[in-house]
């Protein structure tokens, strides 16, 4: 019974918080660039608008095109329920560990790439090929960083990883943790399509990566895909902050503690959003052929992290 309640709360948090995080990042970025910005609630309005619209499905599209938004959306939600958000104890933690989370997100990406190819439009195929290139380079770095954390906790279960992190608050100062954090932060930027790698606001076809894949989607399907993208961003950000900055993370869900946990989660998310905004504002988008250099740095940091857990 408690599990169900926890799951419902976390589901609500995921669904409600994800557009808010996107909105906060956009607004902060606009303010930093001395624009007014659309307001932090704009992503909700966008979703509401898209859900009420009709949609156009290309004639050439097969069943993959209509199945993808559902697979992406529910895959991301399921991954979101398997990570510790408010308390170290993840609602669906018993279903799978960090590997399951990453490959659920990977499944979504796989289907998005397929649907980009499915419609037969050249931009979709181009987006898919770029997305797959980047994710193939980001994945090793991500796995190395994740394994570093998992070795520290002695388990790939996220509940155990977050639990071990709670025990040692200052552990993030250890070099291994720092390298792993830096690697995972670079991967986060690549995976969520943030600026040095991809520009989430672009509508210039030649530079698009994620946007190019979903170019053919409209109406409710587009809403699902966009919602899933912001949930994925929230999931990865939460994973990063709860594995590396465990302050205020509660060991279990109970009454008042959960509220404290939510408060800390919001504060840490805001902090991370500010960092992302700053990074996006001071950097220009990289040329596509420079992205492997960034990810090579992430890979090297990840492998240094893994090795230095054994050495230090």
């Amino acid at each position: 019974m408690e599990r169900i309640l926890e799951s419902v709360i976390q589901l609500f948090l995921l669904l409600a918080l994800a557009p808010l995080v996107t909105g906060v990042i956009r607004t902060l970025k606009a303010r930093l660039q001395t624009r007014r910005g659309p307001g932090i609630l704009q992503p909700y309005r966008n979703l509401y608008k898209l859900f009420r619209k009709g949609m156009v499905i290309p004639e050439t599209a097969s069943w993959i095109f209509s199945a993808t938004p559902w697979i992406v959306f529910f895959g991301t939600i399921l991954a979101g329920l398997m990570i510790p958000m408010v308390a170290a104890d993840a609602p669906l933690g018993l279903v799978g560990g960090v590997l399951a989370v990453i490959y659920l997100l990977g499944l979504g990406r796989f289907f998005l790439a397929l649907s980009g190819l499915d419609t037969g439009s050249s931009f979709g195929g181009l987006g898919s090929s770029r997305e797959m290139t980047i994710s193939a380079l980001a994945e090793p770095a991500m796995m190395l960083a994740i394994f570093t954390v998992a070795i520290g906790a002695g388990s790939t279960g996220l509940t155990e990883i977050a639990g071990a992190a709670i025990g040692q608050t200052w552990r993030f100062l250890a070099p291994a943790q720092m390298f792993a954090f830096a690697a995972l932060a670079l991967v986060l930027i690549a995976e969520t399509g943030r600026i040095p790698v991809d520009n989430p606001a672009t509508h210039l076809e030649l530079t698009m990566i994620h946007e190019a894949m979903i170019l053919e989607y409209s109406g409710p399907y587009l809403a699902l895909v966009e919602w899933a993208a912001s949930i994925k961003q929230l999931v990865l950000m939460t994973l990063l902050i709860n594995c590396f900055w465990p302050f205020g993370l509660q060991p279990t869900w109970f009454g008042f503690g959960a509220l404290v946990g939510i408060g800390w989660l919001l504060a840490k998310l805001l902090f991370l959003s500010c960092a992302i905004v700053l990074l996006e504002t001071v950097n220009a988008k990289m040329r596509l052929f420079r992205v492997p250099e960034l990810l090579a740095v992430a890979f090297t940091l990840g492998s240094l992290a893994l090795v230095s857990t054994f050495l230090f």
């Binding site: 200052w170 090297t300 492998s303 050495l311």
Partner: protein
């Protein structure tokens, strides 16, 4: 109560390890970036971290003479040398990117490998479970060396080679300070003035190379063979 962590050896060790790790990250960042001005600034930040490490070691080991070494590092490597080089860059009007011989992703992975080599070599130098500061710093220092050498080989432009030489010297400084808790002051002074003079002389040399060959690409020096 507030002062307690600042007297605790373990806390000091942790801080120093953290900063040494940052120094290492900066060294890899040098390999990954493409602009000479960025290279100079990264070198300045790296030297600043080294000065901080030296000061921390001085504080925890109650060795006041290391403060002087730290202060000298701060003045020479964080302020004088970077200013000198940035002026040189402005004067020679260098705008093009650094073109390494081996491409950047591979260079970064190679530096990662060199770091591992550094750790393996350093492993044999210290006994396990021996307490005290400077446990991991030797490994970082050796890695700085190796990556510094690699950067020197990997770059064609004279100025970046000089910078790589200086970061190699940073590795030496780190090794000396973490192993011996500071060399005698006179040696320290000698090395620092050596660096300053070397930087100036090499700066002038780079400028001359540029005057004569219209470029600071050292591969053109072969033309001397007539």
């Amino acid at each position: 109560m507030l002062m307690r962590p600042f007297l605790d050896m373990q806390f000091g060790d942790r801080i120093i390890t953290l900063m040494a790790a940052l120094v290492l990250v900066l060294q890899i960042a040098v390999v990954a970036q493409r602009w000479i001005v960025t290279h100079i600034r990264i070198f300045a930040i790296q030297s600043f971290l080294l000065a901080t490490i030296a000061a921390t070691i001085a504080w925890f080991n109650h060795a006041p003479h290391i403060y002087i070494a730290a202060a000298l590092t701060l003045v020479v490597k964080v302020i004088l040398v970077p200013i000198l080089f940035e002026r040189l860059v402005v004067r020679m009007d260098i705008r093009e990117e650094i073109k390494p011989i081996i491409n950047v992703p591979l260079s970064v992975v190679i530096s990662g490998g060199l770091t591992l080599l550094g750790y393996v070599v350093a492993e044999s130098f210290y006994k396990q479970n021996e307490p005290g500061l400077g446990h991991n710093e030797l490994a970082v220092a050796i890695s700085l060396f190796l990556i510094g050498f690699f950067t020197m080989i990997n770059r064609r432009k004279a100025l970046t080679q000089v910078l790589a030489l200086l970061s190699l010297e940073n590795g030496l400084f780190l090794a000396a300070i973490s192993l011996t808790y500071g060399m005698p002051l006179i040696v320290e002074l000698g090395i620092l003035f050596d660096v300053l003079v070397a930087a100036m002389v090499l700066g002038i040399l780079v400028y001359r190379i540029r005057e004569t060959f219209e470029s600071i690409d050292v591969s053109r020096l072969r033309r001397l063979r007539g």
